[in-house]
């Protein structure tokens, strides 16, 4: 059962910002798949719920020469169906396909997923894995920052009460290989035990020329495995490199134990999956 609250559906961003700028105890509803669960558990008890899902600007998927722009109210289903995203931000397409269930994907939004800030959030981890930026707006103006800086802890972001996520800016990705992976207890409706993004490019000699590796559910926020990225540059995959990959991942993660998995398992599976995927990428290149 939900608590009593008012419901407002602003038609424009400005309208929404006006409402958010009052001292009212407001909460933004985008898809509602997280907010309603949280309210039922009495973790969030707003006086007014502000539904931003029907503001046209927030539901757009656009591209410029260099970037993709996703409105915060874009649903996971819209992401999956978008050619723009598939072509230029493929890990987000892959991540969206892993989220919950068809119903959740139809309702849940990328903005909601980011704002919920679960370290296991599939959409959030994909955004971090592509160094995406978030644009926050309020009556005072606009703030733009990397998503990695915007999420500061489990369930915590720097978004102020009077701010609204306008959307996300993702540089068009040009990796040779992009993979989002998810380890879950079952194959649908699963909270990630470990997830991650592995982006790689190779040079003509089939060495790894650049890498971006981000893991989720192994730390309070999605974590970039920068040490590992550095180690990979200029190298070809080998069993030795595989061992090093695992070591670096183990050193970088600090998961907790919960009913879904122990920290030992999370660390181990994160290391094994990273190694396996990098190996796969290499073999696809003929390395």
């Amino acid at each position: 059962m939900l608590t009593k609250f008012k419901y407002i559906r602003p038609k424009t961003i400005d309208e929404a910002l006006e409402i958010l700028n009052t001292p009212e105890n407001t909460a933004i509803i985008s898809g509602g798949t997280d907010l309603l669960v949280q309210n039922r558990a009495r973790l969030v008890e707003p006086n007014t719920v502000v539904d931003v899902k029907e503001i046209p600007e927030l539901k757009q998927i656009r591209e410029t020469d260099t970037d993709i722009l996703l409105g915060s109210a874009v649903t996971f289903s819209m992401i999956i169906e978008s050619d723009i995203v598939r072509k230029h931000a493929n890990v987000l397409t892959q991540a969206a396909q892993c989220v919950g269930s068809p119903q959740i994907r139809n309702q849940g939004t990328i903005g909601g997923n980011a704002q919920t800030a679960s370290p296991a959030g599939d959409g959030l981890v994909a955004l971090c894995g592509m160094d995406a930026e978030v644009e926050l707006v309020s009556l005072s103006g606009v703030r733009r920052m990397p998503v990695k800086q915007y999420v500061v802890g489990p369930g915590k972001t720097v978004k102020q009460h009077n701010e609204l996520i306008k959307g996300f800016i993702i540089r068009k990705q040009e990796w040779d290989f992009s993979r989002f992976f998810k380890v879950g207890r079952r194959k649908a409706l699963a909270i990630s035990i470990v997830n991650g993004v592995i982006n790689l490019s190779f040079d003509d000699e089939k060495n790894i020329s650049s890498a971006r590796i981000t893991l989720g559910a192994v730390a309070p926020t999605p974590v970039q495995i920068a040490d590992l990225e550095k180690e990979l540059i200029g190298k070809r995959y080998s069993d030795e490199l595989g061992t090093l990959i695992r070591e670096k991942v183990l050193a970088a993660v600090a998961p907790i134990s919960d009913i879904r998995g122990s920290k030992e398992y999370r660390s181990y599976i994160a290391a094994v999956r990273c190694d396996g995927i990098i190996k796969e990428a290499a073999s696809m290149r003929g390395c």
């Binding site: 939900l2 608590t3 009593k4 609250f5 008012k6 419901y7 559906r9 509803i29 898809g31 509602g32 798949t33 309603l36 669960v37 039922r40 719920v49 539904d51 899902k53 289903s77 919950g100 269930s101 068809p102 119903q103 959740i104 139809n106 309702q107 194959k187 649908a188 409706l189």
Partner: protein
Amino acid sequence: MDVAFKLNGKNVTVEVEPHWTLLDVLRDKLGLTGTKKGCEAGECGACTVLINNESANSCLTLIGQVDGKEVTTIEGLMKDGELDVVQRAFAEKGAVHCGYCSPGMIMSVKALLLKNPRPTRDEIKEAISGNLCRCTGYEQIIEAVESIAEGVYDNEECKQD
């Protein structure tokens, strides 16, 4: 507050409290108990309805969110006394045991077929992956949808005697 939407093809306006879910309004206010409450957390799919022809968990939908939209529930599938093809396939292929998951399951299948009339087995499983069933083990449900995909019901009409 008042919420106006299209429900099973008819325009309705309901006087509601803003914090009510679509599920509770359907069941308690509108007397449409075909849509079931199973978990109130979006984890079982028993509450699945179509909103603008896409499947959604009505337990996670605030009633205000459907203002101006089209909602279809299990009660809206029959036309002129004829079972919808999905209802018929479910009924004939043993896909209904206790029946509690059936309305939500049928709506998810309906959403699938509206976009993809000839789904593969994997596509069927994906489409119903948000609908839990504890009785059937899913096999007969999948077979029911496969029979539709294979065209078994293509040229038939479902009339009520």
